[in-house]
């Protein structure tokens, strides 16, 4: 396990925010949770806490963007993709204003707060917005890069962050590129395409499967939009079986995005979907929830075996 994603995020905001004076940070009264509070403490003159007013926060950020600032808006993913959506659409998507939507506590990582605070539709919603780029952070090093990249690239972005620590799969010198999936393991029998916390689960599942003689390619599709079409189609052609794994409803998220590519590309491959099965979870410990809702290593193994059997 690495560091908690939210801590890495807050530290990255401060680090890169010091380097670029155009970075401004907004929060909607949850800065101690999102860790944007680290930026507030370090660079108070460029931090704006707007209170519990997510739509207003996004609108203010858009106005700041019109003056050349690079605003990061922070609140729980579920509220950004709902209450913040009107501004995301009008100002980010339609107007291409350079606002960064940082979805904290993505998926079910706000485990104990329960389904009102889980986000299982944010990827589907945000990737449906024209001009938006959509990313899901898998580990601490990727989180750091996503912040740096967001400052460098002039585009509206949605970046989903986890509350918790996730297994470390990268190192400080890993190179990432927008629209390019990361191949973490090679294999010929099936491909697991995962994002976020499921990347670590996929790697662990592939190691277990290897003991049984099943070789699985593992891809971290952290760039959900633009997505790596070539890698998806190549994986389908090479392995004939795709398992998508995400901490999101199975409708409209990474699985949906991959299915769109497979379908449009005429791929001859089966697909299994790991995710929340079109239901709301409940509250409990994060690990218990991951197990109960089929987001753990045994569930990934079972999905891979099922996919291979369907080939």
């Amino acid at each position: 396990m690495g560091k908690a994603i939210r801590d890495v995020y807050g530290e990255a905001l401060v680090k890169y925010g010091r380097e670029n004076k155009n970075v401004v940070v907004l929060d909607a009264d949850v800065c101690s949770s999102t860790k944007s509070g680290l930026f507030a403490a370090a660079i108070p003159e460029r931090f704006f806490n707007v209170g519990i007013a997510e739509a207003d926060m996004v609108g203010i950020a858009a106005g700041l963007a019109t003056t050349g600032k690079i605003p990061f808006v922070n609140t729980f993913a579920v509220f950004l993709a709902s209450i913040g959506l009107i501004g995301a659409r009008a100002f980010g998507s339609y107007s291409k204003l350079n606002v960064k939507f940082m979805g904290a506590y993505g998926g079910i990582s706000d485990a104990y707060d329960g389904p009102s605070h889980h986000s299982l539709e944010d990827i589907a919603i945000m990737r449906a917005l024209p001009n938006f780029q959509v990313f899901v952070a898998a580990d601490e090093y990727q989180t750091d890069w996503l912040v740096k990249n967001a400052i460098e690239v002039d585009a509206p972005m949605y970046i989903r962050l986890s509350r918790d620590a996730t297994p470390t799969v990268y190192s400080a010198d890993t190179k990432f590129e927008t629209g390019k999936g990361m191949i973490l393991r090679e294999g010929k029998d099936a491909t697991i395409i995962a994002c976020g916390v499921m990347v670590g689960q996929a790697v662990a599942a592939a190691e277990e499967l290897a003991k049984k003689g099943i070789e699985v390619r593992v891809v971290d599709m952290f760039s959900i939009k633009p997505i790596d079409r070539e890698l998806i189609l190549e994986s389908a052609a090479k392995t004939g079986a795709i398992v998508t794994a995400e901490e999101h409803n199975i409708i409209g998220g990474l699985g949906g995005a991959v299915a769109e590519v497979l379908s449009a590309g005429g791929a001859n491959a089966v697909q299994e979907f790991i995710g929340l099965q079109d239901l709301h979870a409940e509250c409990g410990s994060y690990n218990e929830l991951l197990t109960k809702y089929g987001l753990d290593v045994p569930a990934v193994i079972a999905a891979v075996e099922k996919a291979i059997a369907r080939k």
């Binding site: 401004v24 003159e45 460029r46 704006f48 707007v50 209170g51 007013a53 739509a55 207003d56 926060m57 996004v58 609108g59 203010i60 950020a61 858009a62 106005g63 700041l64 963007a65 019109t66 003056t67 050349g68 600032k69 605003p71 009107i86 501004g87 659409r89 009008a90 100002f91 339609y94 107007s95 291409k96």
Partner: protein
């Protein structure tokens, strides 16, 4: 500072021309919003032709004032004023709302020179104006003003009041909101649809310096803008009392003229009235 008589007459003549051209184009395209365009005419004219600093040759000039039509449905009048100011040819007005036009049904900042912000969804424009005002201050641009033109129907949206709280908290004294207070929205009068009570008291309670004026009197508008600009330490709002459909007797105060196409018969009556033939 009072307007000279010549300036006042010039602004009034422009308003008359803008109204005539607006009805001409809205009749010809059979779509668009006449009611709120007619009510906001003097506000836009006073800003663009007297009070605001903008440069049509350099629309993105850093030190310009920002004028945002948060009631985006009044786009036809905004376009007519921008065109007269020189941001694009007046001729282009006839492409309004048509395929391949730069003049979208609601203002689009990516398409139309002079449009500061894409608006249309009501209620969120003021938030963006607060952000613009903050961004200008952060950039050290002290002498630029953000003008947010609101409709009274959009005050129904809660985000307007969220934006007011933020403007007061962050002391955006470079923000002047102007309410096109015509008291009529799409489905009826404001009092019928969602009574807003004492609007002046509400804005004052939310931390604004509040001014009122006759929104069809260019002289009053200009002098009230001067007063608002002098306010320090807090945002201001001008409640500009207006009449929906102003200038055409059968449209005035009627909610059906929010977005109704203009028939040939209505067009003839309206034009005769605007030209002063009856």
């Amino acid at each position: 500072m009072n307007l000279s008589v010549a300036k006042r007459d010039e602004l009034n003549a422009l308003c008359k021309k803008f109204r005539i051209d607006l009805i001409e184009v809205l009749h010809s395209i059979q779509t668009g919003h006449p009611g709120g365009s007619l009510s906001v005419c003097e506000i836009l004219t006073a800003l663009y032709f007297e009070k605001a600093k903008v440069d049509p040759q350099n629309p993105l000039w850093e030190n310009r004032d920002r004028i945002v039509l948060t009631k985006g449905h009044a786009a036809p009048m905004l376009y007519r004023v921008l065109a007269e100011k020189g941001f694009f040819p007046v001729e282009e007005m006839k492409t309004l709302r048509q395929l391949n036009s730069r003049l979208q049904g609601h203002p689009c900042a990516l398409e139309t020179p002079g449009v500061e912000l894409s608006t249309g969804p009501l209620g969120i424009g003021l938030s963006a104006c607060v952000g613009m005002a903050l961004g200008l201050k952060l950039s050290g641009i002290e002498d630029a003003t953000v003008y947010a033109i609101l409709g009274d129907g959009e005050l129904n949206e809660g985000t307007v009041w969220e934006a007011c709280m933020a403007a007061a908290k962050f002391k955006t004294d470079n923000l002047i909101a102007i309410l096109d207070h015509n008291h009529v929205q799409l489905d009826g009068t404001s009092d019928e649809i969602m009574p807003m009570g004492n609007v002046a008291a509400k804005f004052e309670a939310f931390g604004f310096e509040v001014f009122s004026c006759n929104g069809h009197d260019v002289e009053e508008l200009c002098s009230t803008i001067d007063q608002a600009k002098a306010v320090k330490g807090k945002p201001s709002i001008i409640l500009a009392e207006t009449v929906k459909g102003k200038g055409i007797s059968f449209m005035e105060g009627k909610n059906i003229w929010h977005g109704k196409p203009i028939s040939d018969e209505e067009y003839k009556l309206a034009m005769a009235e605007l030209r002063g033939e009856k």
